[in-house]
């Protein structure tokens, strides 16, 4: 069974936001609905204070509360596929915002307006790509919810190419945020692979999952500094 998992080592993260920028370019960022957000806060007491950086994308929970809420309102726009990836079908989304309201991590964002990146100026290169030529997860629409997809367009390609074992290793098959980290604070691969890097990092660095009291079973692990909650 495949279970894609990400590990983020906040002890190594320098807060450079390369992952945020990479996600923005890879996933047709629109200002109203960022898919990867950098949080920062301080820990400790003066004079021994440190800054903690923590990037937040979708946790692709085992029991996603966003899906439960979406099902409850009858939209059924959110699915969790056999690879554990939680996706939103923009054509089914009714824009109620319940997914955003119930997610313990505040991850789904209602894209109220698909605003241009440079209002009044020419479109940036990726904005000019017609919706029909984009992967379905990149066909941005106003008044629908969006969130990180674990770069599903890349994972799907790996599966189609029979290269599932290259996920987390090859550029074409690995979520872009995980590729660009200059401090090697991010890891992504199938947890159930023998010799899985994420399993190793989780074990060695005692990585944990955030807000476990919600019982959603997030598939993103954090090596934490401080007591973010």
């Amino acid at each position: 069974m495949t279970k894609f998992v990400r590990v983020i080592d906040t002890k190594r993260c320098s807060g450079c936001r390369s992952c945020v920028a990479a996600c923005a370019v890879e996933n047709y960022y629109t200002p109203d609905a960022p898919w990867n957000v950098m949080m920062e806060y301080e820990v400790g007491a003066y004079p021994n204070v440190r800054k903690v950086f923590n990037t937040m994308g979708c946790m692709h929970c085992e029991n996603p509360s966003c899906k439960a809420a979406c099902d409850a309102v009858g939209a059924k726009a959110i699915t969790k596929n056999e690879y554990g990836v939680v996706l939103i079908d923009y054509d089914k989304c009714i824009g109620c915002g319940y997914c955003a309201a119930v997610c313990p991590y505040g991850v789904p964002q209602l894209n109220t307006n698909v605003e241009p990146l440079s209002p009044g100026k020419a479109e940036v290169a990726y904005e000019a790509i017609p919706a029909a030529e984009r992967h379905p997860t990149h066909r941005k629409k106003a008044k629908v919810a969006e969130k990180c997809t674990f770069c599903w367009h890349k994972l799907e390609q790996a599966i189609a190419d029979g290269k599932k074992d290259r996920i987390g290793k090859d550029q074409a098959y690995t979520p872009t945020c995980d590729l660009v980290c200059p401090t090697q604070a991010r890891f992504f691969c199938d947890l159930d692979d023998p010799g899985s890097t994420v399993a190793e990092v989780i074990g060695e660095k005692r990585a944990t999952r955030l807000k476990q009291e919600f019982g959603t079973g997030p598939q993103v692990y954090y090596v934490l500094e401080g007591d973010g909650h």
Partner: protein, 113 residues
Amino acid sequence: MKKLIIAVALAAMAGAGFAAGVAETSQQIKAGKINVGNKKSLSADGRFHNIHGNAVGLPCSTCHVGALKDNSLLARKDDKLGSGAPGPVDRSTCLACHKEGGPATVFYGSAAK
């Protein structure tokens, strides 16, 4: 000590009473006996607020906290809310009713730790 025990017992009874009330309200909403409208939206006049504010009777401050803690890991917690907005929502409040075994629609489960 005796006062503390009584206070805890009263709080537990009040909690149990509240949960029973929510369970009943939830059933009545699902049965169409309480009208919370059909507008599936987070807007103040939508079902979401009709259920929590009007049907269940929660004051705004139950969910909308003035500000979240610095180390609160909620994406976009630093976004500026609109003028007059009642403040962000601490999702831990939702657990009281929406966890598995709770009186309302279940959003939160019991995934293996």
